[in-house]
C-alpha cells in the first residue's frame, strides 16, 4: 500500500510553486485591473468579452477542483458510470447557451441573477433564491478552499491550514485588483494549463500501465467498477445532470458571464465551453481506475487522482498534478468570489440598502465584499468538515430546485412569483429530506422533480401574463 508521503513533494518546493503562481496571478490581475474605471468595468469587464476568452472562461470555471479531485473519486467509488455521469454535467453549460442569449436580450443592463428573480418574480421568490444562492456559493467556496488545503497537504506535506490560506489569499488578491477582467484572462491561461496537464498525465498512465492491464485488473478484482447496471451509479448519472443544470442555471457565476460577453457571443461561447469540457471528467476519472492495478488505496477517496498521477510520474507527476489542481481551484475560486461579491453589492447593498449609491461607492463596496468573502471562507475552511463529494452533493438539493423556475421565468409569461418561490422552497426541502433518507445520489433529482411539479401547477392555474418590458431596468 502506498502512502501520500511516498511521493510527496518537498514542502519547500510546494510553497515555492504557490509563491511563484501567486505573484504571477496577482501581478497579472493588477495589470488588467488598471483598465477598470467604473463598477461595470470591474463587475462585468465592460460587457465586452470576446469569443475566445468567453469560451475559455466558461470551460475553465466549470473545471473545478471537483473535476480534478471528485471525478476520480466518484470513478473510484462508482466505476465507469462515475466518470460518464460526471461528464454529463457538461449539459449544464450546453443548455445554458440559449438561456444566456435570452438573458442578454431580456436584460441588457442587468448585473446579476438576483436582478432577474427580483424583476421577474418579486420579493418572496427573491428571498428564497438568495438563500439558495448564498448556501450554494458558500458551499462551493468552502469546498474549493478545503480542496486547496488537501492538495498541498497530500502533495507536499504542508499543513492543511497553511495551504488553504495561501490559495485563498492569492485568489482574493488578483480578483480584488482586476475584477472580472482578471478572472476571465487568468481563466484562459488556467484552462490551457489544466488541459495540457490532464492529457499529459493520462497519456503517461496509458503508456506505463496500458488500457488492457487496467481493464483486466478491474474485470478480475473489481468488476462492479465496469458494471453498466450499477444501480447507485445510474441514479448518480441522472442526479448529476440535474445538479449540473441547477448549478449553472441559478448561479451568478454564469449569469455575470452571460451579461459580460459582447453582442451575440454568449450562445456560442457556452456551447463551445460545454463541448470542450465534456470529455475532461472521463480523462480525469479514468486516472482513478488505475489505482487498484498500482496497489494504491488512498486514505480518502478524493485523493485517488493525485496519488495515481504521482505514482506513475513520480516527482514530475506530483508537480504537474499540483499545478493542474491549483489552476482548477483558482479558475473557480476567483469566479465565485467575483460573482458572489457582485450579488451582495448589487442585490443587497445597491437595491436594498443604498439605492442612491454612486458608481465609485459600488466599486469600493464590491472590493470590500471580495475581501470579506475571502475571510469568511477562510474561517469556514478552518475545520475540515466533510469530503469534497459530500459537500458538493449536499448543495445539489438546493440548486436543482431553481432549474424550472428560471427556465419558465425566462420563456413563459404565466409563471408567477408565488409559485416560483414555492417551487424553489419545497424542492429544496424535498431534496434535503431525500439526501438524508436515501442518499446523496438522489438529492438533486428529487428537488428538481418536486420543483417542476409545482411550476407545472403554477402554469396551469395562472391567469396573469408577465410583461417582458418590466425586465428593462437601468442601472
Amino acid at each position: 500500500m502506498n502512502k501520500a508521503t511516498d511521493f510527496a513533494l518537498d514542502s519547500t518546493l510546494g510553497l515555492s510553486l504557490v509563491a511563484i503562481f501567486g505573484v504571477l496571478w496577482i501581478a497579472f490581475g493588477w495589470y488588467l485591473g488598471r483598465k477598470n474605471k467604473s463598477h461595470e468595468d470591474f463587475a462585468l469587464a465592460g460587457r465586452n468579452v470576446g469569443f475566445a476568452l468567453a469560451a475559455a472562461t466558461a470551460m475553465a470555471t466549470w473545471v473545478t477542483s471537483n473535476t480534478t479531485l471528485v471525478a476520480p473519486q466518484l470513478t473510484y467509488q462508482l466505476g465507469v458510470w462515475g466518470m460518464v455521469g460526471y461528464s454529463f454535467a457538461a449539459l449544464g453549460l450546453i443548455l445554458f447557451a440559449p438561456l444566456a442569449a435570452r438573458i442578454k436580450h431580456l436584460m441588457p443592463h442587468g448585473y446579476t441573477s438576483g436582478d432577474f428573480i427580483r424583476l421577474r418574480f418579486g420579493r418572496a421568490a427573491w428571498w428564497v433564491f438568495m438563500v439558495i444562492s448564498v448556501v450554494y456559493a458558500m458551499g462551493w467556496l468552502v469546498s474549493l478552499g478545503m480542496a486547496g488545503g488537501i492538495l498541498l497537504q497530500a502533495l507536499s506535506g504542508l499543513d492543511y491550514h497553511i495551504g488553504m490560506s495561501a490559495i485563498l489569499l492569492i485568489c482574493v488578491g488578483y480578483t480584488l485588483f482586476g475584477g472580472l477582467r482578471a478572472v476571465i484572462a487568468t481563466d484562459f491561461i488556467q484552462a490551457l494549463i489544466i488541459i495540457v496537464g490532464v492529457v499529459g498525465i493520462a497519456w503517461f498512465l496509458i503508456d506505463t500501465v496500458s488500457l488492457e492491464t487496467i481493464h483486466t485488473e478491474l474485470s478480475t478484482d473489481h468488476p462492479q467498477l465496469l458494471d453498466l447496471l450499477f444501480p447507485a451509479a445510474v441514479m448518480f448519472l441522472f442526479n448529476n445532470i440535474f445538479f449540473g443544470l441547477g448549478e449553472i442555471f441559478h448561479s451568478n457565476v454564469w449569469w455575470s458571464r452571460a451579461l459580460a460577453f459582447k453582442g451575440k457571443v454568449a450562445f456560442k461561447a457556452f456551447m463551445l465551453g460545454g463541448l470542450l469540457w465534456l470529455p475532461i471528467p472521463i480523462v480525469t476519472g479514468f486516472i482513478a481506475l488505475a489505482a487498484p492495478q498500482l496497489g494504491i488505496f488512498p486514505p480518502t477517496a478524493d485523493m485517488v487522482g493525485p496519488m495515481v498521477a504521482a505514482e506513475v510520474l513520480g516527482k514530475v507527476g506530483a508537480i504537474v498534478v499540483f499545478i493542474v489542481v491549483f489552476s482548477a481551484l483558482a479558475s473557480s475560486l476567483d469566479s465565485l468570489l467575483a460573482a458572489t461579491s457582485d450579488l451582495v453589492t448589487r442585490d443587497f447593498y445597491h437595491k436594498k440598502l443604498r439605492p442612491a449609491a454612486s458608481d465609485q461607492q459600488l466599486l469600493r463596496v464590491n472590493r470590500y465584499c471580495i475581501a470579506g468573502l475571502g475571510v469568511l471562507t477562510w474561517l469556514l475552511c478552518l475545520p475540515q468538515i466533510a469530503t469534497l463529494g459530500a459537500l458538493l452533493n449536499f448543495a445539489g438539493a438546493f440548486v436543482a430546485s431553481t432549474i424550472f423556475p428560471i427556465v419558465f421565468g425566462l420563456y413563459q409569461r404565466r409563471l408567477t412569483g408565488g409559485y416560483a418561490a414555492l417551487a424553489m422552497g419545497a424542492g429544496t426541502f424535498a431534496g434535503l429530506v431525500s439526501y438524508f433518507a436515501i442518499g446523496f445520489y438522489v438529492a438533486a433529482l428529487v428537488s428538481c422533480v418536486v420543483s417542476a411539479l409545482i411550476c407545472a401547477v403554477g402554469l396551469w392555474r395562472s391567469r396573469t401574463l408577465f410583461n417582458w418590458q418590466d425586465m428593462q431596468e437601468r442601472a
Binding site: 490551457l192 493520462a202 453498466l228 459582447k262
Partner: protein
C-alpha cells in the same frame, strides 16, 4: 459489463478530444487578437 474495446474507445476518444481543446482555444484567441475582438 463494459468490455475492453468499449473501455479503450471511450478513454481514447475522450483523450483525443481533450487534447484538441487547447488548439481550438489558442486558434480562437489568435483570431480575436488579430481582429482586435479580445475585449
Amino acid at each position: 459489463m463494459l468490455g475492453l474495446t468499449g473501455f479503450s474507445v471511450l478513454v481514447t476518444v475522450c483523450l483525443i478530444l481533450t487534447a484538441l481543446a487547447p488548439v481550438v482555444l489558442l486558434g480562437l484567441w489568435l483570431k480575436d487578437l488579430i481582429s482586435k475582438q479580445l475585449w
